[in-house]
Structure formats: C-alpha cells, structure tokens
C-alpha cells in the first residue's frame, strides 16, 4: 500500500472497535469487509448503552421516579441528535422503528393504505433492496396498485430518461434508494425528488446506505420520507428511524396499536397520541435508541464530509486493484458515482465459494443476492460477492482482499 489518505486517521479509529483485533482462525486476523450488511460498533456506543443499563434503566414516558426521568430524557435526547444529523426541522418528525425495513412498511401500511387506491401508480427502481420492494408488492396486491420501475443501465445507473417517461403516469409515490447496496450507485436523489414533486408524487428515500456514508440533509433534499437503520451506521441492532414531513405524519393513521401511542383509551375506542408517539406502540428499544444517539455522536465527531471523502478514496483504490486481477468482473458504476461497495464475480465461480475461500484467510465479504434479487436477475446472475468499506477499513485490507482473490483462483484452478 503506498497511497496515503488524509481524510481520516484510520489507525486511531480502529482502536475504538475491539472486534477488529480479533483473529477469526488461529493466527488469521479479521479483515471485515461487510459493513454494508452491518457495521461494527465502537466502544463508545457500547459504553453509552451500558451506562444506561447500569445507571438509569427504566421504562420511559410514564414514570416519575429518577430512573424513568433519566431514561426518558436520554431517549428523547437521542432522538434530537438523530434529527439534527439528517437536519430534520423537528425531533418530533423522527420516529424510532426497528430498522429501515420497518420504516418503509410503516409508510406503506399507514400512509399507503390511507392514501393509495386501485390503479394508482407507485414508481420504484430496479435496484431496490427487497425492503423497498416487498412492502409495496403487498400493498399493490391488497389495493390493486400499479408498480413501475426506473430501469438500471448496464453500468449500474438509473435511467433518468425512462424515469421522466414514467412520471407521465402521474404516480402517487416515488420510492427509491439513495445508494444501492449492491452496485454502490449514489443516485441523484435531489433531482429525482424535484421531478417527482413536479409530477405530484410523494417521495420516500431509502437511506439505509446513504445516511451512514454521506451527509444527508432532508431539508436540502426536500424528501417526504427517509428510512434508515442504526446498525449500518455504528449503532446497535434493533433500532432504526423514519423521518417524515410533518403534515404527512400528522395526517397518517397509527401503524400499530398499544401503550404510548394513545392519548386516551376506552374499551371500544381510542384517540391517538401526537407525533412521534403515535407511531411508537409499546415499550420501545430504549437502550438501543441511546446507542443510536451515541453512534451519531461518533460520526459527527469525524464529520460526514470526511467519511464520504475517505470512502471515495478507498473505493477508488479497491476498484483499481481489482481491475488488475484477470477474471474479476465488477458490477456498478465508476468510483465517482459510487459509495464504498464493490460487488464482483471471479471467473465462473459461485459467489459462495469466493466468499468461503476468502473467509479461510480471515476476509469477511458477503455472498448472495444481497436482498436485491431483481437486480441480480437483470444482470443475469443469481449472486455476487460483495466487499464493502467503512471508516475503519484500511487500505491494507484492500490489498489483503486482492491477495485473497488470487488464493480463490488457485483453489479452483
């Protein structure tokens, strides 16, 4: 490795992630290249959660003892941090969910069921994750909606001319990923939203990959909904968020019923609480919310601009190095249009076998359809191997990946 980055002090960052020091086989250190599936968690996040558990653990909102007040304050403070991270106008527009998937289902089942009717057009894209396909398929079956898809070009970009064409169908909703978890493509979200709004559509941005890796500003984007997951941005599992435009959220019916989402309950009727509580039924993932807030703190301290530019550097380096290997086929656009995700195939090997042999050398990449079967179908393949990078990924790890790929070739030579 002879490229020096200036954006991040990766060696220092790595010290915050104890797992990175692990050996996966005796003498074989971990090379974690699977952050697109889930990121690792820094000590700071784990410790913030532990502090809550050992010091202020209580159920929230209703308790007036000290622990409950501390837990409630911490839970709401974390919401404020998350809101600020995406520049939401108010913390009340940030709803805690389990993950991106639940955020999107919430919109489909609450907003969608209330606002869409037979024959209405919903525009998605061919590169969507199953989480932004299946909820709409379920609703489409129930309501007889028409689903249309912005095509993906050979080089892994959205075909915006085709999109403009689709907009003449007067869609009610345009829901798309800001960054593909397979191709790495960073879509022109602002442009897509401007066009959607001009056509009268509401927009949902799947931010599962963009929020962790780029500066995302919901007001600059003018997004109506934004869905994302903590576990992909250094935070814990079990918590995610949905941002929504206030008027939309306030007009939406509740998603689930239960404690905390109500203002008043009688035996046969209830009045819903105000946002965000209306959408948070039951005891929420309290500790996880605190961890989510701590993850945002950690990212803020590095700065999302620095995160993005470091990832630009490492993905460019990875593409360059992979291009040297005969038989490697990389999917997706050039480095400039791409986040730090590299999906590839090697010779005529199956992605499982690539991943398995890499794993023997400690290199963790993901293999499969990455919850994007239609996209793989489009490219005429069933699966790819995917190496992905984050703030703790070192350039040396790219070199190890390259060496590992040569080992795969050897094994099946």
């Amino acid at each position: 490795m002879n490229i020096q980055t200036t954006a991040l002090d990766v060696a220092k960052i790595r010290e915050d992630f104890p797992i990175l020091a692990r050996e996966v086989h005796p003498g074989v250190p971990l090379v974690y290249l699977d952050s697109t599936a889930t990121s690792q968690r820094p000590r700071q996040v784990v410790e913030a959660m532990e502090r809550l558990i050992y010091h202020s653990n209580a159920n929230i909102h209703r308790g007036i003892h000290v622990l409950a007040e501390e837990a409630t304050a911490a839970y709401e403070e974390a919401r404020g941090k998350i809101a600020k991270f995406i520049n939401a106008p108010s913390a009340r527009q940030v709803i805690y969910t389990r993950n991106t998937t639940e955020s999107i289902n919430l919109v489909a089942q609450s907003w969608g069921r209330a606002n869409l009717k037979a024959g209405d057009v919903v525009i998605l894209t061919e590169m969507e994750h199953h989480s932004n396909l299946v909820p709409w398929q379920i609703l489409a079956m129930e309501k007889n909606l028409r689903l249309e898809f912005i095509p993906v070009t050979e080089d892994g970009l959205l075909d915006l001319d085709a999109y403009r064409e689709l907009l003449t169908l007067e869609p009610k909703l345009v829901a798309f990923t800001q960054m593909s978890n397979v191709l790495g493509t960073i879509n022109p979200a602002k442009e897509i939203i401007v066009l959607a709004h001009a056509a009268g559509a509401v927009t949902l941005v799947d931010g599962a990959q963009s929020v962790p890796h780029l500066p995302v500003d919901v007001q600059a984007l003018n997004a109506d909904f934004l869905a994302f997951s903590a576990h992909k941005m250094l935070g814990p599992t079990g918590i995610g968020a949905l941002y929504g435009r206030k008027e939309l959220l306030e007009a939406m019916p509740p998603f689930m019923g239960g404690g905390d989402m109500i203002k008043r309950v009688e035996l046969r009727s209830f009045q819903p609480n105000s946002i965000p509580h209306k959408f948070e039924a039951g005891t929420p993932a309290i500790t996880e919310a605190i961890g989510f807030g701590a993850a945002v703190d950690y990212l803020n301290q590095i700065g999302m601009v620095a995160v993005e530019s470091y990832e630009q550097e490492i993905v460019a380096y990875a593409l360059e190095r992979l291009a040297e290997i005969p038989g490697v086929r990389v999917f997706g656009p050039e480095a400039e249009q791409k986040g730090a995700v590299v999906s590839f195939l090697l010779d005529d090997l199956h992605a499982h076998d690539i991943s398995q042999v890499l794993d023997m050398h400690g290199i963790a990449v993901r293999a499969g359809h990455h919850c994007a079967q239609p996209l793989h179908d489009k490219f005429g393949i069933t699966s790819t191997a995917r190496a992905s990078f984050y703030i703790y990924s070192a350039f040396e790890e790219v070199d190890k990946l390259v060496a590992g790929i040569y080992k795969v070739k050897e094994m099946f030579a």
Partner: protein, 131 residues
C-alpha cells in the same frame, strides 16, 4: 428535590383560588395528559378589548398540575388575548419556581397547553404550543 413541593405549590393545590367552571364563557377548552389520563378544562371570560376578565380551571390532576393551573389562571387575568397566546413554557415555570423532569413537565404544562389551544381557537391541543 424537596423543592418540588415548596409551600406555594402545596398551598395552591390544597386551596386553589381559580378552580371552577365559568358559564357562560367566551373561551373554553379541555384536554388530557396522555401519560397519566389527567384532564384539565380552562374557561375564560373576555371583555370587549379581548382582555381576560375571569379565568377558571377544572378537571383532576396531581399537585403540580393543579397548582400550576391555579397560578396560571391567576396570571392571565388582566392579560390581553394576544399576551395569553404569547405565553411560554418558561413563563409558567417562572410562576411555579421549580425544576421539573420531563414527565412532571407534562403535568405542569397541561394547563398552559389547554389555555393556549383555547386562545388560538384550535381544534386540537398541540405540543408545539408549549415548546
């Protein structure tokens, strides 16, 4: 901590001066605290210049909510409707003179929320009114 129940609050809770309903009234509004099911109603009478001449609260709640409602009613008599609309959370907390955690804050602010929703003539009370 013990400050929470300083003399003024206990006194106003036990012997409220503005408890009751006004009938007829010019403004009346009521709402629940979703956290505990407490309920407060506020009635106002105005003169021809939209100045509050009489104020009263009813409903049930804890010492904090009752005392704060009573102190709030006292403070609005003589104020213009515009001044009532401009009241903030901090104005109320100044009247109470105590520090409150997030949950007890809701108890204290319920009467202000109800008052302001009534003053603005809203269909529904809204947390934005007291933030």
């Amino acid at each position: 901590m013990d400050d929470l129940y300083r003399e003024l609050i206990i006194e106003r809770y036990k012997s409220p001066q503005f408890r009751g309903e006004l009938d007829p009234h010019d403004i009346s509004f009521e709402d629940d605290n979703p956290l505990c099911g407490d309920h407060i109603r506020v009635d106002l009478r105005l003169d021809e210049n939209d100045t509050v001449t009489e104020a009263a609260f009813s409903g049930q709640g804890c010492a904090i909510s009752q005392a704060s409602a009573d102190l709030l009613m006292e403070s609005v008599v003589g104020k213009s409707l515009a001044e009532v609309k401009a009241l903030t959370k901090d104005d109320l907390l100044d009247l109470l003179g105590i520090e409150l955690g997030p949950v007890r804050l809701k108890c204290a602010l319920l009467s202000l929320k109800v008052l302001k929703a009534g003053a603005y003539g809203l269909g529904e009370a809204n947390d934005d009114l007291v933030e």
